[in-house]
Symmetry: none
Subunit: 355 residues, 2 copies
Amino acid sequence: MRGPVRIVGTGLLGTSIGLGLAARGVEVQLADASPTAMRLAADYGAGRPAEPGDAPELIVVAVPPDVTAQVVARELEAFPDAVVADVASVKAVPLAELRALGADISRYLGTHPMAGRERSGALAGSGDLFVGRPWVIAGHDGISYERGSLVDDLILDLGAVPIESTPEEHDRAVAIVSHLPQLVSSLMAARLADAPDEALRLAGGGVRDVTRVAASDPALWIQILGANAPAVVEQLRALQTDLATLVDALDDVDASGSRKAVADALRAGNEGVARLPGKHGTHARFTRVQVRVDDRPGQLARLLADIGDAEVNLEDVRIDHAEGAQFGVAEITVLPEAVQRLHDALEELGWQVVA
Amino acid sequence: MRGPVRIVGTGLLGTSIGLGLAARGVEVQLADASPTAMRLAADYGAGRPAEPGDAPELIVVAVPPDVTAQVVARELEAFPDAVVADVASVKAVPLAELRALGADISRYLGTHPMAGRERSGALAGSGDLFVGRPWVIAGHDGISYERGSLVDDLILDLGAVPIESTPEEHDRAVAIVSHLPQLVSSLMAARLADAPDEALRLAGGGVRDVTRVAASDPALWIQILGANAPAVVEQLRALQTDLATLVDALDDVDASGSRKAVADALRAGNEGVARLPGKHGTHARFTRVQVRVDDRPGQLARLLADIGDAEVNLEDVRIDHAEGAQFGVAEITVLPEAVQRLHDALEELGWQVVA
């Protein structure tokens, strides 16, 4: 059975961790530099206020990146029997800072849950925030397996998927999949800042998707980007090169090779987005099968029951139907090896497989 | 009462227009260069095949941008009593081409519905694709008010919001809110194309949002961008300037003024995204409910059967689960008035509604 967990910092992540653990019956002790913020998280159900004499087994530091190392060092000293983990979005700088501070890193493990929202603070917290999400453990060789396993258990208890990495590998990875998208989104959104009102009225789903994360908190992001600047600059420079090629091509679009250069940029984008795992069936590992379904309650359930009977496991399913259309289309995402079996089983049962 | 409408081109937009009009009892005549595509749209409920002797009152040309002017000119000639509208994503070039062809533009009006999907074709079509969406009318002074009002009626019948503009103003506006987001998304996604697998495993909602439209069809986009290159280049150059400032700042992040420059870029993004009208990408008519589902065959079918038993009609369903996770999250899209009933029914049956 898990011992008490102390959470330092009751923003979105700290509160969400507290809510998830408390729901599983774990004793959660909450601390925050702001007593008001701590009280709010406690009232919200994320745990009880920390008290003198508390003896946590595990401490989770969930404070902004630029004070993470300092708070971790303080906690390591105050609780000499506890393992301390942090959840900051960068991993190499905090570890280096802890080493420079001479902290006992044999009890420290850096982690990073890949979950968040545009909103922040305790009231945006949710015990389910981490469910099914990757959670990086940025290991180092100064901590024992036994101590590290306390952190594994935390991650598993919260329904997340532990991913073993190193601080350097993690920071390079998030430069590509998190920090660059943030900056690209902010740069795009900045173009909207002085666009004419008439243009903004025409905004559709595309520009909304691209600019959604541009609503993120600048104060937090300046810390994240500051602590991972070299890896981020490397990505931005690659983007600059591609952008310059595109501008040259569009600037003289009728010149020989120009249209091909633009098409190449668009195709490279197709390739990149297809590599994203999981959701929406775009991953190369999966194949999509489209089946016609009548537009009335129960039809999709019947289809999925038939798929279950065929012992095919769905990776994703989407239904598309149309006001006024006579039928809809269910798009079933499965592993490629299951496609033929699924196809045969469905046709035998009278379903119309359209693609 | 509205006279017959002829639709030329039965891709996503043509089929969706046909479905929407047919549902309102309008006689819809379908034509497409591909008889198979036309037949599919007709089977789908978008109208009936066009026949010799048809006398449409209004013709909607929904073909790729680079053949739009040519098809509009042909339709104007073949149907001397009809008003012809197109729905291409660029407006100045087609009008100029029609003028050069000597077409009777007193019966032509260019329009552009701001609605679309990453997917294309009749089977992605939906009669409610345009509901609540802006639909630009790129007016010119060669067409009478009476003739133009036929096009207004079409737009209103499909539930869209008519927006009066000019071809030039439209093209500048879509350069900012549509063409630039497309290119930014493609450039970002291209960075994923040669990223390490380890990085892609960490991809979260942010990078998915930013890169979603990067899945769009390069063949279509090269036509759009080619016909609006000067306005797009102007936007790309402004982006280049901002990007260069950001790279300089992050390249020497501890220099005086560097952090402020990064914060300024992020704040400009905040300002821009705040200017987008309405809700963030969610269709105002629908609400999403998230339910935990175990990752084994038949679970989703059981969930959907339970939803069917509760007599709730699904608008959409998506499932999200991480590699290695024991369960996933099904996102159920329903009409807002069904949410409470769905929530209660599912909880009573033991489902865990997570949001």
